[in-house]
């Protein structure tokens, strides 16, 4: 089934290794980094909104106490 005879054969890609792996490597990197960045942005956003909400709640409490 598998076309390649050896692993080094697979890496060499018939002399096109640099081009093929350069393409796949950068694509894989982008497709790893993009979701990580998106999820991290979401986490910092949620944390920020929670902080704001708590601050607003505290301000409301102070206002009603006075």
């Amino acid at each position: 089934m598998i076309y390649w005879k050896s692993f080094s054969d697979f890496l060499a890609m018939g002399g096109y290794g640099f081009y093929v792996w350069g393409s796949f490597g950068v694509t894989a990197l982008i497709m790893l980094i993009e979701p990580i960045v998106a999820i991290r942005n979401q986490k910092t956003l949620i944390a920020r909104l929670k902080r704001q909400l708590r601050a607003e709640a505290r301000a409301d409490q102070r206002n009603t106490a006075v």
Binding site: W4, F10, G14, Y16, Y19, V20, S23, E34, Q52
Partner: protein, 248 residues
């Protein structure tokens, strides 16, 4: 009447946010499964191309990325049209959530195109009609993102961005054909891609990779859409309930 009501309910951020949250793992899983299957077939099983050698294997990401970059732009324009016609809140958010992924797909397409072009055509970059149009598509993505980022008022950002998308969609075919025509005038057909008939295994590999890219784009866009939604709706009851609910 009942259908209308359901549609509106579905389009409201309060229902869409949790729904998207439940869907993201599924799309991620599908992306991984399709990706592994596509890579298995494309990289391990598929035979070599008799004209291009092993270098042709770049096709398994180059073509799906190019398709996605164009498809995402069309989907964004579709959302823009809906948003401008029916004044829906969700459509602008979807368009903005999709834009970075579309731009990255255009970049991947250009990057892999360059790495493919070097061994096949002997140059990193040729002014081929498809490459040039892809570059212009990247410019259009960047223009859209810059425009929406520059406008503070989200309603105006959505509408202005939407209008820009529609203008772009009208122009893309004109740009493509003018570039194609310009290219044939200047270069002849010397750099046409060899149209070797594709083996079925290759076709399967490419199809699976395209599905992988598709699922991936949906998953990332949904993550981003949820962020945009939460930020814009932070003063509504559902968002507050969600934010305080998590704390306990």
């Amino acid at each position: 009447m009942k259908d209308r009501f359901n549609l509106y309910r579905f389009a409201s951020p309060a229902t869409f946010y949790p729904l998207a949250g439940r869907l993201i793992p599924w799309f991620t899983a599908l992306a991984v499964i399709f990706g592994l299957a596509g890579l298995w077939i494309g990289m391990l099983v598929a035979p070599t191309d008799f004209q291009q050698g092993e270098g042709y294997r770049i096709i398994f990401i180059h073509v799906p990325a190019s398709w996605m970059s164009m498809f995402i732009y069309l989907v964004m324009a579709f959302w823009a049209a809906i948003g401008l016609a029916f004044n829906t809140r969700l459509s602008g958010m979807m368009a903005q959530a999709l834009a970075p992924t579309g731009a990255l797909m255009a970049f991947i397409s250009l990057w892999t195109g360059a790495l493919w072009g070097k061994p096949m055509w002997g140059a990193w970059w040729v002014w081929d009609a498809r490459l040039t149009s892809e570059l212009i598509l990247l410019f259009l993505y960047i223009g859209y993102m810059a425009l929406t980022a520059a406008i503070d008022d989200v309603r105006r950002a959505d509408k202005a961005g939407g209008l820009m998308l529609l203008v772009g969609v009208v122009n893309v075919p004109i740009i493509y054909f003018s570039v194609k025509w310009w290219n044939t005038l200047h270069q002849g057909s010397s750099i046409n891609l060899t149209k070797s008939s594709m083996a079925t295994t290759m076709l399967w590999g490419m199809l699976l990779m395209a599905l992988c890219f598709w699922m991936y784009s949906i998953a990332v866009a949904l993550v981003r859409a949820r962020s945009i939604m939460l930020e814009r709706e932070r003063h509504t009851d559902w968002a507050k309930a969600l934010l305080t609910g998590d704390e306990k």
